[in-house]
Amino acid sequence: MTTPSIGFTDERLPNGLRVIVAEEHLAPVAAVCIWYNVGSKHEVEGKTGFAHLFEHVMFQGSRHVAKTEHMSLVQAAGGTMNGTTWLDRTNYFETMPSHQLELALWLEADRMATLLDALNQANLDNQREVVKNEKRSSYDNRPYGQWFHKLQAHVFPAPHPYNHPTIGSMEDLDAASIDDVAAFFCTYYAPNNAVLAIAGDVDPAQTRAWVERYFGSIPANPAIPPLGDLSLPPTLGGEVREVVEDRVPLARHYFGFRAPPFGDPRSDALELAAQILAGGKGSRLYRRLVRDDRVAQDVAFFSLGLIGGASIVVGQATVRPGVALDVVERAYEDELERLGREPVTDDELARARALIETYELEALQRVDERADRLAMYATLLDDPDMINRQLDRYLAVTAADIQAVAAEFLRPDNRVVLTYVPAAENESEDTAA
């Protein structure tokens, strides 16, 4: 198969906005994606959850756009849109029929330039309640709901800013004020702290002209405070264990490992390792724990790339009823350690490479994914061309690379083991026992 070759332009407006345009006319569709270099890692104690709450406020109107009108205008134009917040960044995106591109650019510019004109206490209070309900439905009211929050706290001990959840705490959400919103906006939502990527059925010259028109005179913030030193020791230096009782019917082990930062070549080897360990029915963990030994209901293993000192690798195995917890844990850990002891077979490596190649090409078929990845690589690595090199990097990973990265990171003294067990909470369980 052919490796991707996505042509794009990459330039900066005088106010610092980085603009990336990738033209491609297969479908009459254009994607706009803007990444702000601000995430929950920029939050300070007592103000957790703020970056995400702010993302909601971005849909509450600006000087020329009424509350929720952003969604109305995009949808009436036949587009889709949303925003997401994560540890490192916040992004906003619209996918539009290509003749509606200018509308999306104007909407993003208006809120970057004039958000505070529309900010009021009622809208903030309303979105605070929405976000508290998001926290309830995504985490608090779900079985195993806090697993990632617990893993991140162990893999990134305080005071590292990856320690706290992006969704924040109820207390901090309650405490967020209009002044906080205004200060956050003035500090971080400046053109020199953003990357604007546009991909798809566009005329690059016309697109650049629109971008200059709408964004060109938004003032930069020359005083964006730098984050402190986020560096971390490469590994945890000892195993961390926690057992959680929860209203769950099946016990489940979660595993966490500290891993190299996003963009480190060892991350590519970890991606291949993840495919070989848990990528579908042909993978090692599935084969052994689910299929052959029949001790696990399901397994997972994947990495989440982060730039602030280290990434996190996450594993999961749900324990089948009647199976001892440590049987599942030992089998899971044994497969990870085996990866560090001996090289994977040629066939395993070939299968993993072939699948990753398909997944990459599949993802890059869509213009929204192209725009998102260009903005991501520019924001996190200052290297948007990584979109064209990432697949080659994966395909170049050798068995020795996988063995080395597994030996270095998938080891007991770099491991968090978080075990959810069914809570013994009602009388019937006592009588049944």
């Binding site: 479908a27 929720t68 036949g78 290509s98 005179s217 398909t358």
Partner: protein, 477 residues
């Protein structure tokens, strides 16, 4: 110009580029199997889906879940590729084989680079036609489903969906149970039932192979005839010539009922409000789409604007019709802070009444219509999406131009059509209101609100879980 002058001027749209849903070619093999091929230049990853118009709603009630189990067990090996060899062979092609069953259909699919399409189709045919269904693998997958049912009970979102379906359909309607079966039926499933249902569903006259992507230089009908020839020989027990049936969907409610499934300490109530909805073949399909978008489909739908943007009761609320070969459910779906459970239900019911009682505004109609028409090209950007849409046409026996004419028919919908659709298909005075939440916190308010007959289910989830776990484990060993 100043920034203010620039931003004060809202851009107007450019000229839309012409768009048509891609045309497709149909070939019919001697066996009666259809081949639908859609050529999408510049799309080297090809999506292929073999789809049979036989699904979970066609299976006998005592073996509920067997079709889904059979689909899951397809990848457990074939005569030529025992065990995981089939999976490994497909992975060498960079292709993932996937099989599944829904209420309406049984399907197996693969995405692969065009040069390897033939090799991938050979594996797909092997998987569909010659599975061996090893006894112990079928038993393992059955036990995984039983464990999954335990998980579903503990997950409020899944629990409320099951309870809602069981509340609106009579127990002799297949849709009253989960498509993958419930504890009583799944426990009895094994290799024999799976083998029998597999033979029964594989009728070439009810089967289509849908392939989309850059097919230049490929003789797809010829390839399909070679690869799927084995489907022509009818094994014993096949439902040959079976017509596609309309599953029974009978309402079990004739007045509003309220059912609360107690989950002590829940910080939110998972709420479903609705009744039996519509079949995909409903004549006013397009008016229903527009009406449902205004009520609960758009981001700024009436329900969202009320419950989320005005009241802050929820992170999200939606409403819509799940249209199947038979009449699937109509439901308002949301999760709300426990303390506002009753007002959230009251507001939802008020919106259901309002969309019937008063006409939507021209602006509301335009917003929904323009979204559905405008978003159409976005929906079909990739071969996988085009193939899925064509598969839907086949499953529901819709005319070939259904997608080509979709936008024209949506554009023709009027405010009167919307109101008629609401009046014909939504009945707020006869709904099931099903809640999974903290009964002690909400029962008194629910009683006082008197939405309908209140029934509080305080089953001991823990005890049931233990029983089931023992049963699952007992049969596994």
């Amino acid at each position: 110009m100043t920034l203010e002058e620039i931003l004060a001027w809202r851009p107007s749209s450019g000229l839309p580029r012409a768009y048509q849903f891609p045309g497709f070619e149909r070939a019919i093999l001697p066996s009666g199997m259809q081949v639908l091929a859609v050529h999408l230049p510049g799309r080297p990853l090809v999506a292929a889906n073999l789809i049979v118009r036989q699904g979970a709603s066609d299976e006998p009630a005592p073996v509920g879940g067997v079709t889904v189990l059979a689909a899951r067990a397809l990848t457990e090996g074939t005569e030529r590729y025992p065990g995981l060899e089939l999976i490994e062979a497909s992975e060498r092609l960079g292709a993932t084989l996937h099989a599944e069953a829904s209420w309406d259909a049984f399907s197996a699919s693969v995405d692969v680079a065009a040069p390897r399409l033939r090799a991938a189709l050979e594996l797909l045919a092997e998987l569909v036609v010659h599975p061996t269904f090893p006894e112990e693998d079928v038993a393992r997958l059955r036990d995984e489903r039983l464990n999954d049912l335990l998980q579903a009970r503990a997950e409020p979102r899944r629990r409320v969906e099951q309870a809602f379906a069981a509340s609106i359909y009579t127990s002799d309607s297949p849709y009253a149970r989960p498509a993958a079966g419930d504890e009583d039926t799944v426990r009895q499933l094994g290799r024999d039932q799976v083998t029998r249902i597999h033979r029964a569903v594989l009728d070439p006259a009810q089967t289509a192979l849908v392939v989309g992507g850059d097919l230049s230089g490929l003789d797809l009908p010829g390839m399909a005839a070679d690869v799927f020839g084995a489907l022509g020989a009818a094994p014993e027990g096949r439902r040959d010539g079976a017509t596609v049936t309309v599953p029974l969907a009978r309402s079990s409610i004739d007045r509003t009922i309220v059912r609360v499934y107690n989950r002590p300490g829940s910080v939110q109530s998972e709420v479903r409000i609705g009744h039996i909805g519509l079949r995909r073949s409903v004549p006013d399909f397009h008016a229903v789409q527009v009406m449902a978008a205004i009520l609960g489909g758009l981001f700024n739908s009436r329900l969202q604007m009320n419950l989320r943007e005005e009241k802050g009761y929820t992170y999200g609320v939606g409403a819509g019709f799940e249209m199947r070969r038979g009449a699937g459910p109509f439901a308002v779906r949301t999760a709300v802070h426990t303390a506002v459970t009753v007002p959230a239900i009251a507001e939802s019911l008020a919106e259901l009444r309002k969309i019937r009682d008063t006409r939507v505004t021209d602006a509301e109609l335009a917003a929904a219509r323009d979204f559905l028409v405008g978003v159409f090209p976005l929906r079909f950007e990739t071969p996988g999406a085009v193939v899925a849409a064509l598969g839907g046409l086949f499953v529901h026996s819709l005319p070939d131009d259904e997608l080509a004419r979709y936008r024209r028919l949506v554009e023709a919908v009027t405010v009167e059509d919307v109101q008629t659709a609401a009046r014909d298909h939504i009945d707020p005075e006869r709904v099931a209101i099903v809640v999974v939440g903290d009964a002690d916190a909400i029962a008194r308010d629910l009683e006082a609100a008197a939405f309908g007959e209140l029934d509080i289910v305080r089953e001991e989830v823990g005890a049931e879980a233990d029983d089931l776990a023992d049963a699952a484990e007992g049969e596994a060993e």
